[in-house]
């Protein structure tokens, strides 16, 4: 039985969008329609992205920024054009954008600037001018939040272990929002004159919570700290302008925004990038190399050692073009604003449907205020793995476990949760299939 839905405003024309994604027409597990609700882990790719990568390899392939032949020129142009497209998406200058393998590498690139600068300073070795900002002393503090993905937590723990800095964190309330006013683990309780870095997610990959980055960033800047934002779950889903956001760095992954795997982005304020020692070293990132020592290229090249992932960059550029060309079905919105409105409508529908189900407990904000399209929940009496298995058997693909946010799950008193995430190719019907699947799991395991 398929529910018939009255028109919901803000939605994209899902059937038309889904037709651009070849994988969505395949069937799974015995002929079931594929209902892909795991875009928070990685998104599917439209044909235009696949074509862009293929076209690069079939016509322009060469090593970027090396060699002077025609193909090298074309490949370099394509790679740099992608950089400009992606920079424009987030309101950044092109030279402020560094390509990495993924967001994890981008966050490590920043965290290593601190441990590398600290190590070099201890030995009196040369550092770029301005690098004192990255030198940590024992007792300096790095602040994260309790809802971070491991990618924006473990690198900072490592920096602390290498430098003697101390990790502190902002807690969350039971609704899964940052508990900024808490007397012990609120923003002002945790920030102090020793705070050197504040690293936080813009949108939680588990709870969907959108954090008040501007508020946190202003407070962090007031004590002289740098602000690193994990924008993995925001750049793909909403309009972002780095000037408005107030961060000093943002990191995101191409594969979560319709782009290929193997490409991520670090955006950083140029003066900060210039002051940072390199992360990975080798070819392409140098200025002059002598046996006695080397000097390094200016950013972004300083942080792009080795032959880069040119085809993936081109693919990500095509993904950005695709996202920007989307319009809502009623023509009222376009680009990332249309994406955000679409996801907002789906999230509202999913939260409403799941909240009505006996034995289902949502984790994360119960309404759509400052909340994105990650919907996580616990089904009483059924482990998330088993919920996921029953859903998978019906073609509904969700994520189960702790979603690389183990401390967050511990804080919420949940061992593992089931997470559905929505993107441009999901419709109301997918939410219905999710709900029907959860109901089936309850009857299969005899808990409802």
């Amino acid at each position: 039985m398929t529910a018939v839905h009255a028109p919901v405003s803000g939605l994209l024309d899902v059937e038309r969008v889904a037709a651009d994604f070849p994988i969505l027409s395949r069937t799974v597990r015995g002929g079931n329609r594929l209902v892909y609700l795991d875009s928070g882990a990685t998104s599917q790719k439209p044909v235009s992205v696949l074509d862009a990568e293929r076209d690069f390899y079939t016509r322009h392939n060469a090593a970027v920024h090396r060699g002077a032949h025609l193909l090298a020129e074309e490949a370099t142009d394509a790679y740099e054009a992608a950089r400009a497209t992606i920079a424009a998406l987030i309101g950044a200058e092109t030279r402020e954008l560094v390509f990495t393998k993924n967001a994890t590498e981008a966050l490590n690139l920043v965290s290593y600037a601190f441990s590398n600068a600290t190590a070099k300073a201890q030995h009196g070795r040369p550092l770029p001018s301005g690098a004192e900002r990255f030198v940590l002393r024992p007792g300096d503090e790095i602040v994260v939040t309790e809802m971070e993905h491991h990618a924006n937590l473990v690198p900072w723990q490592e920096v602390c272990d290498k430098t003697g800095a101390v990790l502190r964190w902002i807690g969350i309330d039971d609704q899964g929002r940052l508990d900024l006013d808490h007397p012990e683990h609120g923003l002002h309780a945790v920030l102090g004159e020793r705070t050197r870095v504040v690293a936080l997610a813009h949108q939680s990959n588990v709870l969907g919570t959108v954090t008040p980055v501007r508020v946190v960033a202003d407070a962090a800047h007031a004590v002289g700290a740098l602000v690193v934002v994990d924008a993995c779950q925001s750049v793909p889903h909403m309009p972002i302008d780095v000037a408005d956001l107030g961060a000093d760095y943002i990191a995101f992954s191409g594969h979560k925004m319709l782009g290929p795997s193997g490409i991520g982005v670090l955006w950083g304020r140029y003066d900060l990038l210039e002051a940072m020692p390199p992360f990975l070293t080798g070819g392409s990132m140098i200025e002059v190399v002598r046996m006695e020592g080397s000097t390094f290229a200016p950013p972004p090249q300083r942080f792009e050692a080795g032959v880069p992932m040119a085809a993936q960059a081109v693919g990500l550029g095509a993904a950005v073009d695709y996202l920007q060309a989307l319009t809502s079905a009623d023509g009222s919105l376009s680009g990332l604003a249309a994406v955000a409105a679409h996801e907002h409508a789906l999230t509202a529908y999913a939260l409403g449907s799941l909240a009505e189900m006996p034995g289902v407990r949502l984790i994360g904000p119960a309404d759509t205020t400052s909340r994105g399209a990650a919907v996580s929940f616990v089904v009483e009496g059924i482990h998330a793995h088993d919920v996921g298995q029953v859903l998978d058997d019906r073609g509904v693909e969700v994520r189960v476990g702790h979603h690389c946010a183990w401390p967050l799950h511990r804080r919420l008193g949940v061992a593992a949760s089931t997470r559905a995430t929505f993107y441009v190719y999901n419709g109301l019907r997918d939410v219905d299939d999710l709900v029907a699947g959860v109901r089936h799991a309850q009857s299969f395991f005899g808990v409802a």
Binding site: H383, A384, H385, V400, G401, H409, A415, F444
Partner: protein, 152 residues
């Protein structure tokens, strides 16, 4: 479609009525194993009398497959010799890693044959093995601590 072959009655029964669950004293070795992909945890104790397994007690939280598997482990191995227990474990591991192409031997595995369907779901194999890997670890510690230290 394949749900019933994965979740055999025996598995669901062990999940709902776990045998031998709870940590007991005395014991010769205790281990704590986790499945880092999903956060499932198991604490397991082994008690030996000579080379006979007199108890396997356990506690933890996890999915139906991991919990039922620990329960079956308890039922199959308590009262057996360590050598038989390890042979059963080897057979179980072979079955689990066989991608559904290994013919299970019920004489060796007992109720553990019910997990044959799990082998077709690579993501769940770790769940089924959690308890067995914990027991293998615990028994090797227990045996090592019983063996008198040989002076160098």
């Amino acid at each position: 479609m394949d749900l019933e072959s994965l979740y055999q009655e025996i598995i669901l029964d062990h999940y709902k009525r776990p045998r031998g669950r709870g940590l007991r004293e005395p014991f010769d070795a205790e281990v704590h194993h986790v499945n880092p992909t999903c956060g499932d945890e198991l604490t397991l104790r082994v008690t030996l009398d000579g080379d006979v397994i007199t108890d396997i007690s356990y506690d933890g939280q996890g999915c139906s497959i991991s919990q039922a598997s620990a329960s079956v482990l308890h039922e199959q191995l308590v009262g057996e010799t360590v050598a038989t227990g390890l042979a059963t474990t080897d057979a179980f591991v072979t079955l689990m890693q066989g991608r559904g192409r290994v013919e299970p031997d019920e004489d060796v595995l007992g109720d553990a044959v019910a997990f044959a369907g799990v082998a077709k779901y690579p993501a769940r194999v770790k769940c089924a093995l959690l308890g067995w890997m914990a027991w293998k670890d615990a028994v090797s510690q227990a045996v090592a601590s019983e063996t008198p230290e040989v002076a160098p």
